[in-house]
Symmetry: C2
Subunit: 325 residues, 2 copies
């Protein structure tokens, strides 16, 4: 067993409960043993965070990488209307990685976990043949039959998004063009995005969403997934898109980043037109941005002009610019 692994396991173990709450057996056995509440179904999601694909050590602090790694999984649970319970981290580390990097990564991940009452209950470690490789598994639950899927959108439904769009991709654009590191606290939408767990639960509990997906790959790509699974099309109103403000002083992002940029981790959902949708859930704005159509094609309307909308989101920064719109 390579040394960083042992040290890492020892440190992680000291930070997590071995048992308690939904965890019958946590870290330190062949499997974790979890209890799922009666009348609930289990949710499972897995997401890679790979150095050079999903983050760069020159651009992202270890703390941000750990935070973003877990956000990806929590956001998937949010998109089902579920409650996250436990996370499992598979982490492969290059032999020469400083222990301080691992400590900060763990700190970023565990701080977000505790905010959502999620326990780190296991995982795997290995020596990495290349850069830092993380795979996060998040397990959660939802009352049986209540999970919001991608496939429930019906023609005529209104399309909504939470919060603001394009902030994460606009920040990435700055990172790609810039020569210096950005101050992470000035760009929280990119470095410390918060998954919309509470809003997803609210929409599920109040039966406000006919379908739902999280915006990880970008609106045009994720809307295409939702339309495909529901067998419908969509029309988006460009003027309606809630554009993010980023930086100091704050400046509005371009509309094409709101349309195509990834990693905002907002929720995209639909509801019948008759649904009375609140303007805000908690402190988060809910914005109607378009309509589901019978014709299985996506359009974007800018005033009178209506053009076909193709999935043009996110291919991560290994081989694509944040926007190709």
């Amino acid at each position: 067993v390579p040394l960083p692994e042992k040290e890492f396991i020892r440190k992680i173990r000291s930070r997590v409960k071995k048992a308690g709450g939904p965890i019958a057996t946590g870290i330190g056995d062949d499997c974790a043993v979890l209890r799922i509440p009666r009348g609930h179904e289990l949710l499972v999601t897995t997401d890679f965070s790979l150095e050079g694909i999903h983050f760069r050590r020159e651009w992202h602090s270890a703390r941000s990488v750990g935070h973003r790694c877990l956000t990806r999984g929590l956001s998937d649970i949010a998109a089902m209307g579920g409650t996250p319970t436990a996370a499992f981290l598979s982490l492969a580390l290059p032999p020469k990685l400083p222990q301080s990097w691992v400590d900060q990564f763990t700190e970023g991940l565990l701080r977000l976990a505790s905010r959502f009452h999620v326990v780190l209950a296991g995982g795997d470690t290995a020596e990495s043949p290349g850069g830092v490789l993380a795979d996060i598994v998040v397990v959660g639950s939802v009352p049986s039959g209540r999970a919001r899927s991608r496939s429930g959108a019906r023609p005529g439904d209104s399309i909504y998004v939470t919060g603001e769009l394009g902030g994460a991709a606009a920040t990435l654009g700055k990172l790609m063009r810039g020569k210096t590191k950005l101050k992470e606290t000035e760009y929280p939408r990119h470095f410390y995005p918060l998954p919309r767990v509470g809003i997803g639960q609210y929409l599920q509990q109040h039966d406000l969403a006919s379908s739902m997906i999280d915006l990880s790959d970008g609106l045009s790509t994720d809307l295409a997934h939702l339309c495909e699974e529901s067998g419908v099309g969509a029309e988006i109103h460009l003027q309606a898109l809630p554009l993010a403000k980023i930086g100091k002083p704050p400046s509005l992002v371009e509309a094409n980043l709101a349309l195509h940029g990834g990693e905002d981790y907002e929720l995209l959902f639909t509801a019948p037109r008759a649904t009375s949708m609140p303007d805000r859930i908690g402190r988060t704005k809910i914005t109607e941005i378009g309509r589901i159509t019978r014709v299985p094609t996506m359009f974007v309307a800018d005033g009178q002009r209506k053009t076909k909308l193709s999935p043009a989101g996110w291919e991560h920064f290994s081989n694509a610019s944040p926007s190709r719109g």
Copy 2:
């Protein structure tokens, strides 16, 4: 989305049920939705299979890599006495990997999955910055309170193993020394190891194991884990170790490979001395190899000679020979 990913997802989708049995929602949504039988607890395990660390494309066929990848997870479920339900595959692929490699990998994984009635219910795909990177998550269930842990061994308990030991490591030794590829069918213990799921369930159902672990890192290392979690020591009888036979014509492996070599995926378990243990479970031999002791140290006895046993297993073939005993 890089092309191999899309193609891969399309092919996988065509091979798996979207729903049915314990799967309420499978591949194609933000999360998989699973049903856990009432009165059962959930088991979760994650395991990396990284090119250059856990396998080499020069040595292992894609089919063997896919098979071994899933075996790692199923074997962890077996070690808890559980029943595997669903698998989730996170797979990062180098851009130039031939589609045929992915097809064969998937074939190896799905063939083993279907043998154990396990459904591939989701996962993640990404472009890999290095070699092939796989992380397998296996989810299963066990009647509440019945999971066999590593921590239940008591002084005086007998120590048992299933099957034979050292075959996988001895084959790896041949691969490392050899100039040619081995014929995989002649070395199934290394290329196509079968997880002991049925035996784990049998031991759990008949209350025959006070503690259990699977032999993935090697007897000396995994026994050390079991002893540590149980707060006990152990004495192993070298002459009692069931040595594997490998190759054609079959030859017996060296005892130090049975003691320290990894990846046999047999079960190591303990039971009170009074327990009436069958000689075989199904067609698989059960062998008593030693005794749990109060003193928290491991020894190996060879006739009259008794020497201290240190964990000396598996560091994978990136930086260690299969045996350092």
